[in-house]
Amino acid sequence: MIKKVLVILLLAVIGFYLVDLLAQIPFGEKRDNVGDYYLQESVQSLKVANAVTGIVVNFRGFDTLGEVTVLFLAAMGLSSIMYRKKKKGDKDVRAKKPSSRILQVGVQIIFPMVVILGAYVFIHGHLTPGGGFQGGAIIATASLLMLITYRKFKVNHNTISWIESIAGVVFATLGIIGLIKGMSFLENFLPTGELNALLSGGIIAIIYVSVGFKVAAELTGVIDTVLLNNKPDSNNENN
């Protein structure tokens, strides 16, 4: 009880200072900051229609490389935390009963569409809202659908790690080629093409497609690890 009162007091102090701070930031007002420069440059020199993609992959490309690394480390940490030796009595946590006919047929129809939507989102990452992370998440959703519908559906972890590694290597290599050509890391060395064409933006499109593959593979791996490695001990199955 006393703890809750203390927590609420602490939250009141934090809330007061947050509100006090935010009251000084006018809402919806134009500010002079680096955003204008990014908007201008992403159209004029990068020829990338989606300015957010321009920032994420080019201006802050190094940051994105780090972000992809964090995601990779999370996936790896997850599987090493969840790892346990297989015992005889281990069971799949997925429901024993096969899922209903309606779900199975529905997933058969929806699965390819969801994968195509995901691929569309990351291939057009530099033109429309979306990008590698979003498209990869959509594809991972498709594999989650398959995993919860079909008990026999297995994800091959070898394939996943190959896709992941190749996509990561493509990302890093494109950055290093920029260095070799005498520019900075991750600088665009390919012709930029025309604004709003599919083949535009130089290396940005290629990097976002490889990020899409990487994220899709990683999230699928995470879902699969959490779903299938989580076998309850035989003595606390009733909980």
Binding site: G28, E29, V43, V52, E67, V70, A74, M82, F133
Partner: protein
Amino acid sequence: MNQLLTISFYGTSVALILIGLYAVLAKKNLLKIVIGLSIIDGGLHLLFVSIGYISKGTAPIFSPEVVGTNAVMVDPVPQALVLTAIVIGFAVTAVALSLVIRLYRHHNTVSIDEIKNLKW
């Protein structure tokens, strides 16, 4: 009107952050604590994006319909930062949940009151 928008966006994000912090500090269930972390994430993302908003601005995408016109665009930098933050938030949630699963396997409970090994 603008006042109302200010209150609704900033107010909602501050409320979300505080609710999440309350869950992290006061709840006993580990799963609820992880949910609280996710709620803090959501509040922060809303705060970032609403600070970057510019009145009557469109999405920062130069689609063929927008290119020639003088349309105002919202600040793209907070959006890019939030894109990063969402991915990191996912990674944090995934690792936290796996630790919770691990703790549950070991102690057979998710209540932090009953996991006393590290208490002094």
